[in-house]
Symmetry: C2
């Protein structure tokens, strides 16, 4: 008998998968996933003892919501996840990501795993405090378009801030480009927002994009903080979820983080594969330390359904021990006329993200921003 149980706590975490297939196939796929996600070894070749008894995944529940859709909860020992977000994600969906017809629906993580993560540093309450917005929804816009000079982008940031936009972020396509070098842009934009704040008394913040080289992200974050940035836009699909966690947990940075979905959409574009909106943009993004999760609102220029958007909000707020709830930040083609409907669906705990739409309301960006803010404050 191969014994390792003295090293195991006996505690397990759970992942609920949705299998799209016949019931019989789904039962087989669930058994396969128990091996595929752990030992990657034929069951009959495993040494008898603790490896098949504990290390291998176990089917905790199986229910069919239709002839072709089956929800299966598997459990794995917490020790498989190795105190590490990368390995936790690997345990959740490493090899299974390569198999069609299986989708991660939700995670149930015990305190022994949650306790390994700080989660969002600010969360909803902390961000509200920092932005001096105790009750109302918050406003976000992006400086754009790509190709503009740092000076012109900073002028845009200044106008947004004068008008009362709370979070002014880099468009996610802004990087370290010849027409807009990172350091120059960040310094000018942060300065512009500070200047506006001094005039308005608002507490707007500027968030530069940290879609950057793995060996430069941290130094760029520090440069940005030293030069007055008030937070960071981070695309975990491009830089890795654990890089976002690292930025969030860094006490020498200690600034709010907004997650951007660039490059990661393929996880949700097929309903039968990948990861659910709830788990990806909600639970995983949150566990990785983001204080706000950007996603395309329904009815804009992307294709998320209203139900999918609601599920993101639920994943952003569901109880996860000490891991704070974070703000859903729907965007992607938002216009002023969507506000009432969005408030009704999301409630007040959200960040409105309006990009291009904000340029059409009034003759100047300041007026448009003021109009947007007034409208939201009155609701």
């Amino acid at each position: 008998m191969y014994t390792i149980s003295p090293k195991l706590s006996g505690e397990r975490f759970q992942v609920t998968y949705r299998f799209t297939s016949t019931k019989q196939e789904a039962e087989q796929k669930a058994m396969d996933a128990c091996l595929e996600q752990t030992v990657e070894f034929p069951a009959d070749l495993l040494p008898p003892g603790d490896i098949p008894d504990f290390i291998v995944g176990q089917v905790e529940s199986f229910s069919s919501s239709s002839d072709s859709t089956h929800l299966v909860t598997l459990s794995y020992p917490v020790e498989n996840a190795g105190f590490d977000l990368v390995q936790l994600l690997n345990m959740i969906f490493g090899n299974s990501s390569i198999k069609p017809g299986v989708r991660v629906e939700k995670l149930d993580l015990p305190q022994s795993i949650l306790g390994q993560f700080k989660g969002p540093r600010f969360g909803q309450n902390g961000l509200r405090e920092r932005l001096d917005a105790p009750i109302r929804p918050m406003l976000c816009s992006a400086i754009k378009p790509m190709g503009m000079s740092p000076k012109d982008l900073a002028n845009q940031a200044y106008q947004f801030a004068l008008g009362g936009i709370d979070i002014i972020k880099d468009d996610h396509g802004l990087a370290d480009q010849v027409f807009s070098p990172f350091e120059e842009r960040v310094a000018l934009c942060a300065e512009a927002v500070a200047k506006a704040n001094a005039q308005t008394g608002y507490k707007s913040i500027y968030m530069p994009s940290l879609g950057a080289r793995a060996d430069q992200i941290q130094e760029k974050a520090h440069y940005a903080k030293q030069n007055g940035a008030g937070g960071f836009l981070v695309p975990p699909g491009l830089v890795g979820f654990d890089m976002m966690r690292l930025l969030a947990e860094d006490d020498t940075l200690a600034l709010p983080i907004m997650a951007h979905p660039a490059f990661i959409g393929s996880f949700v574009t097929s309903p039968d594969n990948g990861v659910s909106h709830y788990a990806l943009f909600g639970q995983i993004t949150r566990l990785s330390g983001a204080d706000a999760t950007v996603f395309p609102n329904w009815g804009g220029r992307f294709s998320f359904s209203k139900e999918e958007c609601i599920s993101i909000m639920e994943g952003a707020e569901v109880s996860m021990g000490h891991i704070k709830p974070i703000f859903p930040t729907p965007g992607g083609g938002m216009t002023i006329d969507r506000i009432p409907e969005m408030l009704e669906v999301y409630g007040r705990d959200l960040i409105f993200l309006m990009g291009g739409g904000l340029h059409r309301i009034k003759p100047t960006l300041v007026e448009s921003s003021q109009y947007f803010r007034d409208l939201v404050e009155k609701m």
Copy 2:
């Protein structure tokens, strides 16, 4: 007129997308992608001049392979990609990843972009030299299952190496777990392989998995090298493509890298979305510095088709300037009887990856490995 052209070289890179929709919709989607992937701004709001003329994507070609399938090549100025793999991937598929019915088919990158990357340090020729295998296909296996002690895994590594397996890698589920701490495992396995090499004269190498925290990957890589590891297994879907590039380009490491597809499968599980096998496991993996690209062979326990596997081989070998060709490494349920058929399809420039199947051939792992090697050498 908004002028930035003095800062632009005029050179553009191309991405070919496949749109699944009617022809009319595809034409609209292609125009949308030109904006979505760059300025994220309504065309009528752009300042006239160089931004619409150069920064915005341009449709270079449009061809329909059926009523519902359209290949569209878009071009972007090389400057949009900001000398940075993260931003290059963002330009290729940032926001478009969130839209269903669009798939990245292939990349055409000019020397001004390719020149920013070292690519694979070894590539096919370099790895052949290092493994003393000038002509034959190479053999790879994984130490497993998860749950085994470092000592037992090292014993497995020893037997594989004695039998002539060229690359002995960690199973990708092995991390830094209580039952197999990284440092202890790496030291013992590297030592075991060195001991076997001293007996056989072979040049087998041990590759630990670097699926680890963003702030620990580099130190783990250095620890592994100092303790005799001969390469690294890296899962770019979990740690980020740019982290793999960083490891590959680090002259103080200078060891071969094998890319593992964990967590990244969702990019290819739906035929209408994500990234093609060719671009993802071929071109992008290679640009990110891997010397070998692991993927599930057709007919095993995953679902890639023979054509998809061939396309990965093509992406791994297609001319890309100084970026070296790399080894397709098909695995995922491989057995001995597949060898002739695989040789016929892939040719000799490949690495056979056999895991569980290697445990069934002969009474001991040494004998099984020897049998596998003899068989391949004879072909």
